[in-house]
């Protein structure tokens, strides 16, 4: 992945451009350095709600008009909020891409936050949360996250606590918007069928006059080291039991990140790295063999994301109906012990490298995926990580993997969560 052009406007807006002239399509992204990581108690979920309000209009683009314009021009658009970022994109036929610049420059500073729109969106947001609450996995993840982080805002889910969604005010939302939405807190990523010089000029014309904002407040909370295993038990109606163990892991910029990434790959396979989530099944992975093939669980995964602050390495499983959770837990812990005590094999290392190599090729089929990867990595570390990812991955040794397994996968560093169906037979005990 070469020929990425990096620029910065005087107002602090960072720009990453990649010209890809294989199809008459271009994608335009604005990434804001704000997410649930930047929220404080009382207004959790504010970043996500602000994202919804960004479709509700500016003085020049009425409510709903953004999507209408994008549709009229044969494009697609969306937005999403995560712990570390809020991202907006339009993908359009390349001769229509100017529309994206016009929309994003406008709503970066001019969104209205009309009080009646805030009021009707409140129930929509609560409905989004209640939809998630229909899933046992959501409850368990929220519960485990809250126990694993007592100080750092990774404590709460991006959707926010329900009581905050019920009480947050229009001014809370608007203040958050004005604090974090400014050129100097954003990254533009454009990928597709355009000339980079021309695109840069267009971006400068559209965004250059927007005023630099005050520096956004930095996140000062640091999660103290965990000094002992934490456990949560959730009992709600459900079809079966679910297991989740979260181990504090390295942040994206930590030298341990890639060895931990390989470790997760050996445990569960390299999942879909593309934005659209094309996934390899990972059925030859250690956890699949130990949990699914033995009939203890119906699925198992090891989730590990690139994050600004240290995130968690998440071991999760759907317990086969009738199987006691403790058996699943014991089997997962046994696999973690193995990877800490004995080096992985050459062929396991080679498999992970080959999987990543192919996922990178698959992810470059289509401009959207490239836009996603460049922006996401720039927020959590640097876009250059994309260019160096494979080379650096090939430097990872079996000893590195064992070292990070010994460092992170220890009992005192984990939070274990059990979801037990309350309508089934009462707790069979541990």
């Amino acid at each position: 992945m070469n020929n990425i052009r990096e620029e910065c406007l005087d107002n602090g807006l960072k720009i990453l451009l990649k010209s890809v002239r294989t199809a008459p399509v271009a994608t335009f992204w604005v990434w804001y350095r704000v997410g649930s990581r930047n929220e404080v108690p009382g207004i959790t979920g504010v970043s996500h709600w602000v994202e919804h309000m960004m479709f509700k209009g500016t003085p020049t683009l009425g409510k709903g008009e953004i999507m209408r314009l994008v549709n009229r021009n044969g494009g697609s658009d969306n937005a999403f909020t995560w712990t570390d970022f809020t991202a907006y994109y339009e993908t359009l036929p390349s001769d229509r891409i100017d529309l994206a610049l016009r929309i994003e420059a406008d709503r970066m500073v001019n969104s209205l936050f009309d009080p009646t729109e805030v009021a009707s969106e409140r129930t929509v947001i609560i409905s989004e949360r209640e939809g998630a609450e229909n899933e046992p996995r959501f409850w368990l993840a929220e519960e485990v996250g809250a126990a694993a982080y007592k100080v750092h805002p990774y404590h709460h889910d991006t959707i926010g606590w329900k009581t905050d969604l019920e009480t947050m005010t229009r001014d809370d939302l608007y203040h958050h918007y004005k604090t974090f939405y400014a050129p100097n807190n954003a990254v533009i990523v454009a990928v597709g069928d355009f000339d980079a010089d021309e695109m840069l000029q267009k971006i400068a014309d559209a965004f250059g006059n927007l005023p630099r904002g005050k520096d956004a407040p930095s996140v000062t909370m640091v999660e103290p080291p965990q000094e002992g295993e934490r456990r949560v038990l959730l009992r709600r109606p459900g079809a079966t039991s679910y297991f989740l163990a979260a181990y504090h892991g390295p942040r994206a910029t930590d030298p341990d990140f890639l060895p931990a990434f390989v470790m997760a790959g050996v445990l569960a396979g390299v999942g879909g790295m593309s934005f659209s989530g094309h996934s390899s099944p990972g059925r030859s992975s250690r956890l699949y063999r130990a949990l699914v093939e033995t009939g203890l669980a119906t699925d198992v995964d090891c989730g590990f994301r690139a994050t600004i602050d240290p995130g968690t390495i998440d071991l999760s499983a759907t317990v086969r109906p009738g199987v006691p959770i403790r058996k699943v837990e014991a089997a997962i812990f046994a696999e973690l012990d193995k990877i800490a005590h004995k080096p992985i094999s050459e062929s396991e290392l080679a498999t992970v490298i080959k999987q990543v190599k192919s996922q990178f090729v698959y992810a470059t089929d289509g401009v959207m995926n490239m836009g996603y990867w460049l922006g996401m990595l720039e927020i959590v570390a640097s876009y250059q990580m994309y260019e160096t990812f494979l080379d650096n991955l090939m430097q990872v040794t079996k000893a590195d993997v064992q070292r990070v397994a010994q460092k992170y996968l220890i009992a005192t560093n984990r939070t274990v969560g059990w979801f037990e169906p309350a309508n089934g037979k009462p707790g069979r005990g541990r």
Binding site: T351, S358, V361, N423
Partner: protein, 424 residues
């Protein structure tokens, strides 16, 4: 290096001696190959007693073949960073795979082995049965799934395959035998009902020669089963079913009725109408009313499943239980308006511009091209379809849409199902 538009000249289509149809589209811009295929077979051949057979038999193909155990097959895929999967829907059985160009031969070889030579090993197949039963148990606790399953049961008579979902029921899945599975494979997996689409950095001649080597010896006897679905009698009155699920916070609802086949002459008008009604932008008119104006739902949208058979036209929404009646009233009010007045010129222009303009986006990736070519083949649309498509869409008028809506969208005799924290 710019991608050529997809014209008949840029697609190679051949049929082998054994009846297997192959479509190849060369894309030198990405060092990968996408393989996608379909068999004209699926859950439509299941009966009430064998519900879930196509789904189970197809999932079992990868549990072991003549040359590969389940474990060997998984290792081969992972070691090469490839993917391959096969699954049965109601109307078709689909398979798809992806590999780097350098591994294309391995992918084809593996795919051929899975399609032609599954052995249904006892131990692995029993494990799969337990996984499928666990999936069904989880689905029983899923409000989306329950609402939709009950909706299909209300809309379609018991004798129609669409009455059921293709994943079956626990009691039938428990009873299916290994012989049932291998019989299903022997009967319905045949080259003369199969299409394979290849899109990627391969030359058409090469790819076809390789497929012929891998799948040319695939033979079957007799004629394939008829691939049709019966007509659907309309409902004679409104039908409603409420399913109470404990511990849920939100109710999911489905409201609609049987729609039309993909071959129906009203297909284009109705599908543009449906786009305006409940999909365009943030869920079309439905979204503007029920989500945006009234704030009743995070999601509310409509969909037309026009397939080999007349799949449903339905509205789906997730709402707080105390808002169910208001949401249903809002949806019905929009249906009344949909049936009584033509769409505006603005709405029509937006919808037409969107579907014609967004073709470029849909055809940007290998996966997108492969999916589109697969549909062109399944519905016999012709290799020049993408050239004809914009004029088909531009010719649709508001009057045609209104006539199609009045004919096919009902404000009476619909089915409504609700699943969630509600009393029955």
């Amino acid at each position: 290096m710019t991608t050529l538009p997809i014209t008949p000249e840029t697609i190679t289509r051949v049929t082998l001696d054994n009846g297997l149809t192959i479509l190849v589209r060369d894309n030198p811009n990405n060092a990968s190959v996408t393989l996608r295929g379909r068999l004209r077979a699926g859950g439509l051949y299941d009966t009430d007693k064998t519900s879930g057979l196509a789904h189970f038999a197809t999932a079992a193909l990868q549990r072991g073949t003549r040359k590969r155990t389940f474990q060997k097959l998984n290792e081969e895929l992972d070691r090469r960073g490839m993917s391959f999967g096969v699954g049965a829907g109601m109307e078709t059985i689909g398979f798809s795979g992806k590999s780097l160009v350098e591994d294309f031969d391995h992918l084809l070889n593996l795919a051929a082995d899975v399609l032609m030579h599954p052995v249904f090993p006892k131990v692995e197949t029993e494990k799969l049965r337990q996984e499928l039963l666990a999936d069904l148990k989880e689905a029983d606790d899923d409000t989306h799934h329950v609402a939709y399953r009950e909706f299909r049961a209300l809309c379609y008579p018991k004798t129609h395959p669409y009455h059921r979902l293709s994943d079956g029921r626990a009691e039938t899945v428990k009873r299916l035998t290994l012989a049932d599975l291998s019989d299903f494979h022997a009967r319905y997996f045949r080259p003369d009902v199969t299409t394979i689409v290849i899109v990627g950095d391969v030359r058409a001649g090469d790819a076809i020669a390789k497929i012929e080597r891998a799948l040319g010896k695939w033979r079957t006897r007799g004629k394939p089963a008829e691939h049709t679905l019966p007509d659907v009698p309309p409902l004679k009155q409104n039908a409603r079913k409420v399913s109470a699920l404990a511990g849920k916070m939100q109710a999911d609802l489905v409201l609609g009725h049987a729609g039309i086949r993909r071959t129906d002459p009203d297909y284009y008008a109705l599908s543009i109408g449906d786009l305006i009604f409940g999909r365009l932008g943030l869920y079309g008119r439905l979204g503007a009313n029920v989500r945006d104006k009234q704030g009743l739902a995070y999601y509310v949208f409509s969909g037309l499943e026009a397939n080999i058979g007349a799949g449903p036209w339905a509205v789906r929404a997730g709402v707080n239980p105390k808002n169910i009646d208001r949401a249903v009233d809002g949806i019905l009010a929009e249906i009344v308006r949909f049936r009584s007045e033509p769409v505006t010129q603005d709405e029509l222009d937006e919808a037409r511009d969107f579907v014609t303009g967004s073709l470029a986006l849909r055809l940007e990736t290998n996966d997108g091209v492969a999916a589109t070519l697969g549909d062109i083949e399944l519905f016999s649309l012709g290799l020049d379809y993408l050239q004809r498509y914009p004029s088909i869409i531009r010719a649709i008028t508001a009057e045609q849409i209104l006539a199609a809506v009045q004919k096919h969208v009902q404000i009476e005799n619909y089915a409504l199902t609700i699943a969630g924290p509600v009393s029955q």
